[in-house]
Structure formats: structure tokens, C-alpha cells
């Protein structure tokens, strides 16, 4: 079991007060907080060995290169990649998915081809494929899901056909919390010769993830959602598929030789890292991975499962509030989106903020999904390894208070009218 009390001491921001109340940070699906080990890695880099990487003959440059490549190795081991050359550093999940779209889909989709995804994707795993399909004359198709937010795979056999060139699925929904059986889908997709992309933005931070078990060709995720800094993300590329990719961003670092009229490309993964990389943040991401690895992702998952169970139980006490997503925490991550019939999500968000509780309100970059839930926006609480049952209690108490506040306000208004 995680020693959450000890862990919390590593996170300076958790000591912060908001409007005089202790911060209860429940917006982890948007971005996580960072332990001092990560902040310290940044400071150390900038104070003692900041330099541009690769091809440097001086001490600082060699050290920066060493550490940058060590971070790549850590990422590679963390997701069970066969080697570090599979790991391309990007800005975030969004850029990683666009990379696949520009470097693979643009060159392999044709008229009549199909791309298969789900109806619970983040905009970042939907809009790039809309464009790719549109430009290449392909069709975007969707795996349906049941009312409880679980994918309905009963028709998968007929959804994946020989026209299906690419299947892209989120490993965990950032709205419903659903954990999708990606490995199963991947095997069926591969059997039909399709390429498999996994959006791991929500899963890699919260579950043990192994690319060989998932059997995916691409996996995208962001450091900032897993204790790492902003500005650094990852695209895992299965070695066997490298030859099918065209370069994406062009410029320094990604070339081998350049003449005035043409150029040749560098090896993997440099071929996809054009220009000066985000060296400091990659190295600090390495520190985040060290931190997670020391705790153990299985432990992290256990903690969040317990916390989510507890939260779902407490939410059931709020009779008026509707919670979305699966009830079974074995197929659900620590994301709880909910609807309050009397209080608009934004009003709720503002109210909770004043109680020190940070949640998110809106469409969570999944407009079509949220629309399909019959609401225009939801409120969302999302957990991470440093959250506690006490914090869930604060959330629930604040929600009860909000209900009372807005009910009383309505009453006052009505009374005033009557008087």
C-alpha cells in the first residue's frame, strides 16, 4: 500500500492554501502536480549542466546528452518497449497523435479505406483522424459503447474489415474513466492487417502499461499528467513499423546529410525529433518515472481503485447527483464525471474552488461524448496517488454545501418575490 502521507510531503503545492482552505487538488486528469524530485531535476540541469545535446564535444554537452538519453531509456523500460530507439519525445499526447497522422496516415490511407475509433475519444484522438480521413478520402467509423460507458465489442468483427487501415482507441477515457480492453482490440485489428494506435494519456500515468502486452504499434502519452513537467510527451513507435513512416517535422537533428536540394534522414528516434529538443523537461520526466517506478505502478493502481470505490460510494449518498461511467472499478480509472441537475457545472466549479477543492467543469475536450450524455458540460473530479479518502470527504461535503447554497438561494429568491 502507498504511504500517502509520506508521498504528500514530496509535493510542495499540496501544502498550499486556497482562499484560506487547504488545497484539495482533484483535477489530475487535466494535469498532475509534481514532486520536488522532478523540480529538483530541472534546477540541477539548469544550474550545472545545461547545454545542447548531440554532437557536443564539451563536458556540459556530453553530460546533457547522457542524461537526455538516460531519460529515454527510463521511458522505454517503463512501458516495456523493446529498446530506447522506439521512444520519440514530443511536446504532448496531442503532438504524438498528430505525428502518427502526418507520418503514417497521410501516406497510407486511400479512398475507401477506414479508420476505426470510439465515441469516447479526446479531441486530440479524434480531430487528427477527421482530417486524415477527409484528405485521403477515407471513412471514420466508431465502436459504440453501452450506457455505462463500456465499449460494446459485440460487433467488432464486422467493424474491423479488410478496409480498416488504422484502429485508434483511448486506453482510458478522461470523461467516463472507462478502461478499454485495448489488447483485445489490437489483436483483432492486427489479424486484419490494421495498424493500432493507443491514446495512453490517461492510462500510462495510472496503470501498469506494457506495449508488448497491449500489442500496439503506437502509444502516445504526456509527462505532465504523470508527475512530469509540461512540454514533454512520448510517442512509442513499434520498431517493425518504422519503415512505413515518412518524416514529419524537418530541420536540424532529424537529418543525416543535407545538400542545397535534398537531404537524407537520421536514424530512429532522432528522425522524429527535429530541432533542439526539450532537454530539461525530458530529463525531469526521467525523474518522474523514477518516482513512479519506485512506488510501483501496481501500487498506484491499487490505491486509486480503492479511492475510486470510496468516492463512488460517497457519491451515491448525493441523491440528486448523476455519476457517469462504469460502476465496476476494475474497468474504471480514478475519474468521476457527474451532473448536478440544479447547479450548472461552472457554478459548481466556482463554488468548490472557494472551498479549496479544484475540480474541472466543461466538455473535457470531448464535446461529442459529453453531448451524447445529454448535457452540455459535466463536473469532473479526478484522482492521483497523493489523494486521500479525507479529500473525497471534503469534496462530498462541499457538494452538499453547494446543493444547500443554491437551493437556499432559490428559496430566498422565491420568498423575496412573494413578499
Amino acid at each position: 500500500m502507498l504511504n500517502v502521507k509520506r508521498i504528500r510531503e514530496d509535493f510542495p503545492v499540496l501544502q498550499r492554501k486556497v482562499y484560506g482552505k487547504p488545497l484539495v487538488y482533484l483535477d489530475n486528469a487535466a494535469t498532475s502536480q509534481k514532486p520536488r524530485q522532478v523540480i529538483e531535476a530541472l534546477r540541477e540541469y539548469y544550474e550545472s549542466y545545461n547545454a545542447n545535446v548531440h554532437r557536443a564535444v564539451h563536458a556540459l554537452g556530453m553530460e546533457a546528452t547522457d542524461r537526455y538519453e538516460a531519460a529515454r531509456r527510463k521511458v522505454s523500460q517503463f512501458i516495456g518497449a523493446p529498446n530506447p530507439e522506439c521512444i520519440v519525445f514530443t511536446r504532448n499526447t496531442t503532438e504524438a497523435l498528430n505525428l502518427v497522422s502526418y507520418a503514417w496516415a497521410q501516406h497510407h490511407l486511400g479512398p475507401g479505406d477506414e479508420v476505426l475509433t470510439t465515441r469516447m475519444e479526446h479531441h486530440s484522438n479524434l480531430v487528427p483522424w477527421q482530417r486524415a480521413c477527409q484528405e485521403r478520402g477515407a471513412t471514420l467509423k466508431f465502436i459504440p459503447h453501452a450506457e455505462d460507458g463500456c465499449l460494446d465489442l459485440s460487433g467488432l468483427d464486422s467493424l474491423i474489415t479488410e478496409r480498416t487501415k488504422l484502429v485508434t482507441v483511448t486506453h482510458m477515457s478522461n470523461v467516463l474513466g472507462t478502461i478499454n480492453p485495448v489488447g483485445l482490440i489490437a489483436r483483432q485489428a492486427h489479424a486484419r492487417g490494421a495498424v493500432v494506435v493507443v491514446d495512453g494519456a490517461q492510462s500510462v500515468p495510472h496503470l501498469p502499461v506494457n506495449v508488448q502486452e497491449l500489442d500496439c504499434d503506437f502509444l502516445a502519452f504526456s509527462a505532465h499528467k504523470m508527475l512530469g513537467p509540461t512540454g514533454i510527451g512520448v510517442l512509442y513507435i513499434r520498431p517493425e513499423i518504422t519503415d512505413q513512416l515518412e518524416p514529419f517535422l524537418r530541420g536540424g537533428e532529424m537529418v543525416r546529410e543535407v545538400w542545397y536540394d535534398h537531404a537524407t534522414w537520421n536514424d530512429m528516434p532522432y528522425r522524429f525529433e527535429a530541432g533542439t529538443p526539450n532537454i530539461a523537461d525530458a530529463i525531469a520526466f526521467g525523474a518522474a518515472i523514477d518516482y513512479l517506478s519506485a512506488l510501483g505502478m501496481e501500487q498506484v493502481r491499487q490505491h486509486e481503485m480503492a479511492l475510486t470505490s470510496y468516492a463512488l460510494k460517497r457519491f451515491r449518498e448525493l441523491e440528486e447527483v448523476q455519476v457517469f461511467g462504469p460502476g465496476d472499478v476494475t474497468v474504471r480509472g480514478g475519474v468521476v464525471s457527474f451532473h448536478h441537475p440544479q447547479v450548472h457545472p461552472h457554478d459548481l466549479g466556482t463554488f468548490l474552488d472557494r472551498e479549496g477543492v479544484a475540480i474541472r467543469a466543461g466538455h473535457h475536450c470531448a464535446m461529442p461524448l459529453v453531448r451524447s450524455l445529454g448535457v452540455v458540460a459535466t463536473a469532473r473530479a479526478s484522482f492521483y496517488l497523493y489523494n486521500t479518502e479525507e479529500e473525497v470527504d471534503v469534496l462530498i461535503a462541499a457538494l452538499q454545501k453547494a446543493t444547500r447554497y443554491f437551493a437556499r438561494a432559490t428559496e430566498r429568491v422565491t420568498q423575496a418575490k412573494r413578499a
Partner: protein, 162 residues
Amino acid sequence: MGQNNQPSGFGEVELDELFREVILDHYRNPRNRSLVSGSDVRAEGQNPFCGDEVAVQLKLQDRHVGEVGVQGRGCSISQASASMMGELLKGKSLEEVRRLAGLFRGMLRGVDPAPAQLEELGELEALRGVRQYPIRIKCALLAWAALEEGLERYEKAKKRNS
């Protein structure tokens, strides 16, 4: 912000500053809900980020606002602002409407209106607390931004036809 130096003891007092009674009143009991048919000025606004929507219709008499219709759905701030706006507009000239829009926008952006101007804004003064919540300013301005666009379209169409 930035440091942990907020005075403590905040809470419902400040919330009451944001969710003022008159705001909740307009939110629960929006005025002028009926659609005005045959209107001269029509405007629609959406804030896709929270799904808030408003629609406004004005009937004009001699460049003064006659009948007003305001519909919408969304958070307390956007809906109350729209409802109060509708009430305020009645009888005003288009020039006055534009000036009031400017005043209101200014107030939310931190330009404190003079007391006399504040009086002109009437109940809308209650939305002053919103400026502490940058994200909610868009909510408060939703109806107004839509109105201004509608007015511009109206004037353009008029010019074309004259």
C-alpha cells in the same frame, strides 16, 4: 496569488459577492423569455467551452428598443446577465445600447465606472464580482457580445438598403 498568502476566512461571504441574490433571481426567473417575432435585431451567442447559449431579439421603434426577447441556457452568470440586459435595454436608443455595452464590458475588464454610470447599469452592477473570476467574464459577456454583433449586422444591412 502565487504564494500561500491569501487571507483566510473566505467562504460564502465572497461567494455571495459572486452569486448575488439578484443574479440568482434572474437565473431562476429569467425575464422576457418569449421569442419576439418580426424583430429588427437578432443575435445568438454560444460559448462552446461550457455549452452556454443565448438568443436575443429586439423590435425597434425609431431606433429605440421596443419589445425584447431573451432565451438561453447555461450557468447562472451567463443567463442572469442576459436577462438583466434585456430589462435594461427597453426604451434605450441604439446609441445608448452601444454605450451601455461598453460600460459593462469596461466594468468587467476592471475599469471602474463612475457612480453615475454605475447607476445607469442598474442591476447589472451585481455582476461586478465576476471580475475576480477571469474564466467567468466570458459568461457575463456572452449576451452582450452577441448583441453587439447583432447590432452591427443590423446597421450594415440598413446601410446596404439605403
